[in-house]
Each structure stands twice: as C-alpha cells, then as structure tokens.
Subunit: 372 residues, 2 copies
C-alpha cells in the first residue's frame, strides 16, 4: 500500500554532502561476512557532535561460546537520546559511553549463527547491539520479531519512538475529543506518531516543525490540522492564530524558543508530557544567559494548574508495551497511522545521519540500513 | 489542651513596630455597631506592598433588603494569593481588585441581622467578605459553621490553607511510607499542615523555613524530622546532608533560591506540587536576569521523570472537601495535627500583618481578629 507509508532515503537531506562522509569510503570497510565494523566514541563532543567525535574500526568476527548467538545488523536506530550518553556525565537514565566504546543503539538483527537453544540461524530479533555490523549476545534482551515484511518498523512505528508517543500522549497528555494538541518536532520519529494518535482520539492537532517541506508533509500525509514552521519569524503569532481555543496538550520534545511560544497559549489544566529537550542537548552549560525564564514557568505551572511530567520510555515496557503493540498494529493495519522512515544507507553513514538528525534534517524515524 | 495548639499574637514579629501602624490609630475608627471600616486598595504595589497601597475608610452600616443578612467580621484570613490580585493583571484564577475596592479575603462572621430565611442572628458563618467590619450578603457562598469553640480554625487548619496542603500533598505528592518529603515554608499556614500530614503518612519530613525560631518550632512542636534555615549561607549543603536518600516529594510554595537547592536532590520519579511561588509574587517582571534556569529545570523534569503540577484549591472543593474535613477533624481530635495561628489584633493591623507575611514574619496561619 504505497500511500500508507513514506520512506525517504539519504541524501535528500539539506545537510551538505561533505558532512555525509566523515569516514573514509573504503571498500575494505564494507559489511562482509568476516569483518565487524564498529563505530566508536572517539572524543566527547562540545555542543553539536562532529564527525571526528566518531571512529570506525574493524575487528574479526568473534567465535561463539555455548549459549551465544551471532547477530548481523540489518537496521540501526538513530535517536536523540544518544547525544546525551556521549557526555562524560551521562543522563540519569543511562550510563555514559566510555571513550573507545561502541556507540549504543537499538537494532534489528538476523541471527546468523546460534549456540543458544532459544534461537536459530535466520531468526529476526530486536536487539541493542549498537553501531556495528555484528554482535555476540547471550540472548538476554533479545526480542524475537517473527515474520515481518518490514522489520525496520520495530525501531519506529512499532518500537521505542512510537511507544514513547503512545505513553506520553495517552497516559500524561490524556487528550479529549475536541482538545487542541500541539506537538513539537511533528515530523520526527516520535512527533509524527503523536500527531496521528491525537487525531485518532478526536483532537485538533497543530504540529510544529522546521521548514516548509516538513510542514507540508505533516498536513498532507500525516493528516494534521495545521503545521507551523518554527523558523518563520512570525512563528509565535502564527501559533497563537492556529490555536484560538488555546492549547490543552503540548507534547514537548524540544524546549527553547518553541516552548517560549507555547507557554502563553497553554490553557488552565493543560498537560505537558516532556520526552525530550533537544534544543538543549548540545548546550555546554545548562545554565544559560538570561533572562531567567524559570520564574515565569513556575508561575504558569501554578496559575494554570499545569501538569508537566518527564517520560523515559524504559520505565514503561512492562506495564504498557502490550497495549501499545496491540493498538498500533490495529491502527497501522487500518491506515490510521502511517509510518514515516528516513533511511540512511550503510553503517558508515551513521555519524553524519545522526548529526543531521540533531540539526533537524530527518523526516520521520531515522534508521540506518546496515545490510539487507 | 494547651499543648495541642500554638497561637502567637502580634507584635512578636520581627517587623519594626513602625510598620504595624500604617493607618491612623484613631479611636473613631474602631469597630462599632454603627460604622463599617473598610480597607481599600489605594494604589497598586510595585514589588513588596507598602502601607500607602492601602486606605481605610468608614461608611455607615447599610440597611438590609429582603433576603439579605448583615455579617460582622470576627476573623479575617490573610493569605499570599492576595498579593496577586493587587496587580492590574490579576492571576488567571481570580479577577484583580480595582483601585478603591475593598481588599478581598476569607472571613469568619457572625450574622448580626437576618432577612434571609436560612440564617438567624447569632449564626456563625464562613464568608468571603474581605477586609472590613461588616458586609451585606444575599446568602450566596456562606457556609454555616455550627457550634465551635475556635471559629478561626475555619480559616486555617479546617479551611483553605489546610485543604490546599491536603490535596497538594496527597493527590499530587502521593507520599509513601519511608519517602523523604521536603516542605518549603514549613511553618506557614499551608506548610505546617503539609509536614504533619506527611508524618502521619509515614514519611521522613524535612522542613525549610526562615530563621532559627521557625525551625525550632517545626521540629519541637510540629514533629518534623529536621528543619533548615534557608537564610543560612550553608543552606544548600545542609539540605543535601539532611536528605541522604534524596527527595521524593517537594511541596513547593516558594520558588527562587530554595528551589535551586532542592532541584539537584530530587529523586527519579519525584513529585512536586506547586501551590505558590511567593518568592516571585513581588517580582515586577517575571523575566529576570540570568542565568536562565529553565533549560536546567526542563532537563531535570525529563531525566528524572519529575511530575510538577500546579494547584489552585478553588478547583477541588466539590470533589475533595468532605474527605479533607473528615480526615482533618479526626487528626485534630487525636492531636496528630496541631494548628498554629498567628493572630494580629484589629482590622487596622491587616495591611502591616499582610506585608509582614510576605516578608516571612508570620508563624502559622495569619488571621486578623477583627472583633470578639
């Protein structure tokens, strides 16, 4: 069903092509059956990561011990949280990566060899094997995917980003029919799902995105009622004009100037799930020049009885993943949710694609196709 | 039961005596049976209110129409929210007072004359008749108090401040046995009740207050595990030392530097009911010099999955007041909650007592005894 999904392949991104080749394009470092390419954290970024913060190295494939499986990466997920674990002081919810360690990341893998009773060669699994061609696993944390004609969805519309959208919107945001829901990063991996679920729940949905192409996509393909370009100098005025009844739910993943425009429009009793503050991930100091906007926020929380709550999706798998999975499969099958994927080709493109995502150049869920 | 309650009468306050006489001490403006003294908003304060922002005037008592009652004020409640309604742009939850209007406020009144079928002369009622000796009411919003030997509690431990403590702590804060609960303004009208309810729920309770006298009161009389003086230069270090397990619930009514010290100590999943930001009520601009602390707060909300929620108690009477009343009467009777009242004598003292409260000079619920 062609209309029911969108894939964009690099390099349709506005990022200059030079940025897409941080690593030598050497045929010897293509994925093979014998060599494991691994992308390591070479140095800690100051602000926006640069290609030189990453290093690729090759290793021979390891031999398996009893009880282990060898995984070959098909798809690697690239997500904003990875920026935080690159810092020396990692976020509270995950340890930071040491220098010289493989970058972490969710993956869809094929079991190529198994000495584990629960897995057979050929099995497709969801794993956390990181930015590399191959990994050895003792089976812990592997989730069998069964038969699927689009395994990459396990990293997006059926995986962590969409699950984040689901729990954040439904459990914290609690949109009611007729509510105005505003979603930041509306064409991103999480935001694109938030908007579509909010529409299913009968809300009026206003997206916020960077640039005309994204905004058009949000309205034409994702079915949002409107989408506003935060790069437009009249953004705040446009947002106010698009929300004549104020805002009942603001799905926050951005922070910064976007939140400045949203805050005065929040209604009494509005809910603000916070699943990211990507505008601040590259801040080298979280205490920034004035004005100090915290008193204004605290006053708004009080006077408007706002509910703000942070969400790290790892907390919720046990309690909510089954419900999510069931609902999302129904919505996908009915065409009520349309997944958007932005696919970078080849493991060696991961650093540039990741940097581009932090700059906002992706459209939908960003994945790297590591092998077919 | 003398030990089971604390009353402090003005002028035990550290506020200079001169501040307590903003209005002419003229015997002709004492409460009488013939004259209504009214305290009006004379001008809008810039920052902390000053005595000249208020004006007293006298009026003859009005005649009653059919269906009306005449109320004589016994006690007037003074509360921080009144600062906000003095601004031209009032808070969202209440209209601002016009210049020349009587200051608003909750009161305990005696019905002195009634042409209303539901009320008789001599009835005691909870009213919202403001800063004046007498008021005429059509009965709307009056709550009969029945027989009570301490009617002022209807403004404190059995009224709005304690109800705020109850809903904020139990419904938003949700303390569990063993949790560390930190309460700002721990000896104030709301905070003193929060701490005692949190103790009842089995939490370890750390108070924050201004000055040694208040801190001693919080520990010795209110039963808190510790109380820290926020004026101490080592306040942040002391708070950290008193919360070795971090903070699970922070009951916020202050903002500013107190919140600065609390934020790094909040645990993953901590709850932060926000019932006031008194540190900012006198800000002439809510956008203050840097550093900008909002990104730091947003990052903490995300990474620690904080829940912050504002509370305006007016929203909750219908749903929760009966449960509060029942629980609180039980706790008061059992001596588990001990009310603290700070009583200013005479309507003419209301402005100075109010200003003193905004500076933190009250201990417990501040009420004005207008007549016996």
């Amino acid at each position: 069903m062609l209309q029911a999904s969108f894939r964009r392949k690099k390099p349709r991104s506005p990022i200059p092509a030079a940025n897409f080749c941080p690593l030598p394009r050497n045929p010897s470092v293509k994925q093979t059956d014998l060599i494991n390419r691994r992308i390591l954290l070479a140095s800690r970024p100051q602000g926006l990561p640069a290609p030189e913060n990453f290093r690729i190295e090759t290793r021979p494939l390891p031999a398996l011990a009893e009880g282990e499986v060898l995984l070959r990466t098909l798809y690697l997920s690239l997500d904003p949280y990875m920026r935080n674990v690159m810092n020396e002081d990692g976020p509270v919810y995950a340890p930071s990566i040491s220098l010289g360690e493989v970058m972490i990341g969710g993956t869809v893998c094929r079991v190529t060899e198994s000495r584990h009773p629960a897995f057979q060669a050929g099995d497709l699994v969801l794993a956390n094997s990181g930015w590399q061609d191959y990994a050895v696993s003792n089976g812990e944390g592997l989730m069998p995917l069964g038969a699927t004609d689009r395994p990459s969805l396990a990293l997006g519309a059926l995986g962590m980003p969409a699950f984040t959208a689901y729990v954040g919107l439904l459990d914290i945001g609690q949109p009611q029919a007729g509510d105005t829901v505003v979603v930041a990063a509306a064409t991103g991996a999480v935001g694109s799902i938030v908007g579509q679920i909010a529409r299913i729940k009968g809300a009026r949905v206003i997206g916020i995105a960077g640039g005309a192409e994204k905004c058009r996509h949000a309205v034409e393909n994702l079915g949002l009622d409107a989408c506003l370009d935060h790069r437009n100098p009249l953004f705040a005025e446009n947002l106010a004009a698009s929300c004549p009844q104020g805002i009942d739910v603001y799905f926050e993943s951005v922070g910064g100037a976007v939140f400045d425009a949203v805050l005065p429009l929040l209604n009494v009793g509005a809910r603000v799930p916070v699943i990211g503050v990507i505008a601040h991930y590259n801040d080298t100091d979280t205490r920034l020049p004035g004005p100090d906007r915290r008193p204004e926020l605290m006053t708004a929380i009080l006077q408007k009885r706002l509910l703000m709550q942070g969400l790290i999706i790892l907390d919720h798998y046990e309690r909510r993943f089954d419900a999510f999975r069931q609902d999302m499969e129904t919505w996908l099958a009915a065409g009520l949710v349309i997944p958007t994927e932005d696919i970078a080709e080849g493991l060696e493109q991961a650093p540039a694609a990741f940097i581009g995502m932090l700059r906002g150049s992706n459209l939908g869920k960003l994945v790297v196709r590591v092998s077919d």
